[in-house]
Assembly symmetry: C2
Homo-oligomer: 349 residues x 2
């Protein structure tokens, strides 16, 4: 267990993580689409973490956390629990550092994510369907093997690693606009690793962050509203990467410093925006990976309708953000589901 207080974490930790993982993870592209900009009524800067190694931003945090272990710790083997993308990320980091990995995954993990883990040479133990189930299985594995658990989100090294995606996004926006910044960043939330990392970067730049969760699993939104961490009973959602029972303790403490609003999106929004990104931006995201775009479009609609967030953007021209950053978190999705969704929404997005 870590004992780092949230208050000691800052953008400096993210910058240090970026130096450590450089060359071990992809510097992913930031994609623009005129059609999606027109739909949003502003510039969308899409950070394509679906093009990250293992197809998700999780490679950043895992690679960073594993790089921080002492060699003798690492040699005992890595253990983790994950619905899929963090599993692949730890398997990749284990292979990079030449050690073994053992992963507790839910019984309903998408086959494409299971196959990814196996291809990277890691062992899988199946355990229930919730993050609590698989965490218990990971602790059991640790007792058996003496290996090190690489936390999926609630750890300072994971948070700093995931923050490098937002660090790169802001640097690229500045480079391509001659020094301009974003007006907001929209981030999907599962356990809160990505948004906590984004928050470390964005609080430094005084940039508002918005969280996006499935309507059926809105632990961050409820926790922010309550002012303390709240557990939820996750309901069914296409966003299989966004289903933890609650967000991490450290994640919540860091995120609340920068998050200014929460969006909840349903399966139809995830599906339509997956197809929009495919047709207009030419990239494949998983349903969780489309949550950022779905949330950004909903935020802008609600803003225009006077239904939310007016105060946050009141200093901007037209009271509306001009440049919105969106984190597209991953791209590991079953081809069968892609075929279904494109057949259903492809000609109308």
């Amino acid at each position: 267990m870590h004992t780092t207080p949230a208050s000691s974490l800052s953008i400096a930790d993210v910058r240090e993580a970026a130096e450590r993982i450089a060359g071990r993870v992809n510097h992913t592209p930031v994609i623009r689409s005129p059609v999606l900009d027109a739909l949003a009524g502003c510039e969308l800067w899409l950070k394509a973490e679906n093009l990250q190694r293992v197809g998700a931003f999780k490679a950043r945090g895992a690679m960073h956390a594993v790089s921080r272990l002492e060699p003798e710790q690492r040699a005992r083997g890595l253990i983790t629990y994950s619905s899929g993308n963090h599993a692949q990320a730890v398997a990749l980091a284990a292979r990079e550092f030449g050690v073994s990995a053992h992963i507790a995954m839910p019984v309903d993990a998408p086959p494409i994510k299971q196959a990814g883990v196996r291809r990277l040479g890691a062992a899988i133990t199946f355990a229930g369907t919730t993050s609590e189930h698989r965490r218990a299985a990971a602790l059991e594995l640790q007792r058996e093997t003496g290996g090190v658990i690489i936390e999926p989100f609630d750890h300072p090294h994971i948070i700093a690693g995931q923050g490098t995606a937002t660090l790169e996004l802001l640097a690229e926006v500045a480079a391509r606009t001659g020094g301009e910044s974003l007006d907001a960043v929209v981030v999907p939330v599962g356990g809160g690793g990505l948004i906590a990392g984004a928050s470390l970067v964005c609080e430094h730049h005084q940039l508002p962050v918005f969280s996006v969760e499935p309507t059926t699993c809105d632990a961050m939104a409820r926790s922010l509203a309550a002012g303390e961490r709240v557990a939820v009973e996750p309901g069914p959602t296409l966003g299989d990467g966004l289903k933890p029972t609650r967000v991490g303790a450290l994640n919540f403490e860091v995120a609340r410093r920068a998050v200014r609003g929460s969006e909840r999106v349903d399966d139809e929004q995830l599906a339509r925006n997956l197809v929009r990104l495919l047709v207009h931006a030419k990239i494949l995201v998983e349903p969780s990976g489309a949550a950022g775009l779905a949330g950004a479009l909903q935020l802008l609609r609600r803003l225009d309708a006077g239904a939310a967030h007016q105060d946050i953007f009141s200093s901007l021209e037209r009271g509306r953000p001009k440049r919105v950053g969106v984190l597209l978190s991953g791209g590991n999705v079953s081809p069968t589901l892609v075929a279904e969704l494109v057949a259903r929404y492809g000609e109308e997005v």
Copy 2:
């Protein structure tokens, strides 16, 4: 008409084009996929021109050619003829330079490409199904309006512009490998703009280039075999961007200096490799855009089977290229077709 002799064109023209179009076109990412590398048995470096503006490399050549016109020429309006992607590229360049554009397109141009042209504010005239039909229509438009024809491929400015994709690819390979180079570059061929541009860059680096065409429209392969340009009667193919009756005169003269072999691929290969790029590299290409990967995999299979190209790679370890560059030319494809192909091949690629 241009009168530039092929012998006067070199990598210097491509470098100059790159400077002129910087900031007006995307510096597209080079994507790697461990699964596709395993399939190829070597490193594939995929230049993702599907992520280029208008969804295809054509933006490079058109933007370069239009930037080279005198302002008073441009003001008379731009005219071109194209099956789709060059049409959108000229429409984009016209908008960037604030002039009008009028495009002759085939009656069977994919709706997504027609919609792209209209969205950019250009006018369309439909004309037959072959490049000859639409060229005649463009000449008629020129007589009527006095506008300037922006050739789709057979022009030194177009060739130099398209060459910038390969220039960027080689620079990125060098940067990411600490100065290493590719062993071969594989390029789809329609009229030959992309491969002529690639050839200017590759002949400078003494890198072999391989052409890929549909089996039903193999004008470059036949021309190279004959030692002179040969016209073909294009048959049906999913690769709607690869159907000219013959390659350009200048394109042929430039390409023959660097092209060392030709691959012909059928619709099933285009379809499977479109789906492979979607599932494993997380990007959407059009069938023509998958031709490079289909050709690269076939080249490597034929090489291993002792069926072709042995002499070209005889100096390399195992007589086989270690790093192959592949140009993914575009991503403008009907969502209905994508849904069909992913449903058919998604779970087995």
